[in-house]
């Protein structure tokens, strides 16, 4: 029925099966949309956030999806700037994942603010000293870049490509893609960092505060670094997941391995940097603010030292070691384990840098405050996941996302 739209030379499931799949995920999406409308119409009292948790699940989700979407900029950076040409076979997917992550982040931000109709103030009345301003600008600009990067993919749809203008546009965009990618990488380095800066500049919160250079606290660099390290892991993870679902190999092993290797080294160096940062913070910055390290990890039901060990060692050092060893990344199972761990690690880091920052009492007479999200928060956080799944499903079905698919899955007639 929709065969005219499907790329040539590849096999897709029946339209019925596809519609069923999209329909099921669509229900989840609608649930999220309902929750979103509740938040917009009734206000943020629909959430479990409070005056101690001004930032909560949503901001975590924002930080996490942007870190995970970091695969797009870093792969782009490697492909177009460094010149790792093999990566062209996975860049499309990385861009798509990035596009989903960034559009989701923007949507979540639009729900998260108390006055959505005033959202544009962040641009118009920008305070350039605020890390959030930097985030907003870079995020929006980079989202624009991602859209531009995603655009030729859309235009390569079999039917659209037939329109000469679109065909030419797509062709031209490819020609200058390196420029966009470079701009995107430039923006990304900044906003990934400024997301780290969001927590790092909070000198009233010794748990989050870090020293740094110029206006940038160390978390600025750590965030960029970790996004560059873990973003590609997420791309790998989603690629593998897509392959499992479609029961097809879509990207050649050597491409994945190359990305995994680079990711591994990034992760390793990041982990080392993170350990140094943690040590300096525990030994110097925190005590200067009146806190021992363990003050941050005791007297509360959740945040114990386990979280530090999990984040840095189990989800940092361990996957890094797997990925930098050849056998580790050759074995699909350990590769997947490493990717998943890295993804958990970076998500956990973002959780800590948002939620634990809020939980730690700063005044000695204040209390640890725990938080659990309301269903509306959960639903609106799942909304982008559903949206992402649908967009991936549609894109995969109708667009030539994986250049190697035809070669890897020849149709036998």
């Amino acid at each position: 029925m929709d065969s005219a739209l499907i790329p040539k030379g590849v096999r897709r499931c029946s339209i019925g099966q596809f519609a069923l799949f999209v329909g099921v995920v669509g229900v989840v999406l609608l649930w999220g949309v309902f929750a979103m409308l509740l938040c917009w119409i009734k206000g943020l009292n629909q959430t479990n956030m409070n005056d101690y948790y001004g930032f909560a699940l949503w901001i975590w989700a924002d930080l996490a999806v942007i870190a995970l979407g970091g695969g797009a900029f870093f792969t782009g950076f490697l492909r177009y700037i460094i010149g790792k040409d093999e990566l062209k076979n996975i860049i499309n997917y990385a861009v798509l994942i990035g596009f989903i992550c960034y559009s989701s982040a923007l949507l979540i931000l639009a729900i998260d603010i108390g006055q959505p109709l005033r959202g544009w103030f962040i641009f118009w009345h920008a305070n350039v000293h605020s890390m959030l301003t930097e985030v907003a600008f870079c995020l929006s600009c980079y989202f624009g870049v991602l859209t531009i990067e995603y655009l030729p993919l859309i235009l390569e749809n079999r039917q659209l490509d037939k329109v000469p203008f679109f065909h030419n546009l797509s062709h031209n965009l490819h020609e200058v893609m390196a420029v966009f990618a470079a701009t995107g990488a430039f923006l990304s380095f900044f906003h990934q960092g400024s997301l780290g800066g969001v927590a790092g500049v909070l000198f009233g919160r010794p748990f989050a505060y870090r020293e740094g250079i110029f206006i940038w606290p160390w978390t600025f660099f750590l965030f960029t670094w970790s996004a560059a390290a873990c973003g590609p892991c997420f791309t790998i993870m989603i690629t593998r997941l897509t392959e499992k679902i479609t029961r097809k190999t879509l990207v050649k092993q050597n491409v994945v391995e190359l990305l995994a290797k680079i990711s591994g080294w990034m992760l390793l160096t990041y982990t080392i940097a993170k350990i140094i940062d943690t040590w300096y913070w525990a030994a110097v910055s925190a005590p200067a603010g009146g806190f021992w390290l363990m003050d941050f990890y005791s007297n509360n039901p959740l945040y114990g030292p386990w979280i530090l060990i999990t984040e840095v060692l189990i989800c940092g050092a361990l996957p890094a070691c797997i990925l930098i060893t050849k056998s580790g990344r050759k074995n699909p199972f350990t590769l997947m384990i490493a990717a998943v761990l890295a993804v958990i690690g970076v998500s956990l880091n973002r959780w800590v840098m948002v939620l634990q920052v809020m939980a730690v009492p700063v005044m000695s007479f204040d209390k640890w405050v725990m938080y659990s999200p309301s269903w509306q928060e959960v639903a609106t956080t799942i909304l982008p996941v559903a949206y992402g799944v649908i967009l991936i499903a549609i894109s995969h079905r109708y667009l030539p996302i994986f250049p190697q698919e035809r070669e890897l899955n020849p149709i036998e007639n």
């Binding site: 305070n127 600009c141 531009i148 000469p164 030419n168 430039f186």
Partner: protein, 53 residues
């Protein structure tokens, strides 16, 4: 965001930050304009209509 807005100051922060921003926006804008215009010219020249055949 613009120099005519109340919050704007002619200081280092604004020059660096907004400079970076407008630089990026200019590149993106120029790049897109170039691509669209060139695509239009190409189309007018008849490119791309039969390339699959």
């Amino acid at each position: 965001m613009f120099p005519f807005i109340f919050e704007w100051m002619w200081d280092m922060s604004h020059v660096v930050f907004m400079g970076g921003l407008w630089y990026a926006l200019t590149i993106i804008g120029l790049g897109m304009t170039y691509c669209i215009l060139k695509a239009a010219v190409d189309t007018a020249q008849g490119k791309g209509s039969h390339h699959h055949e």
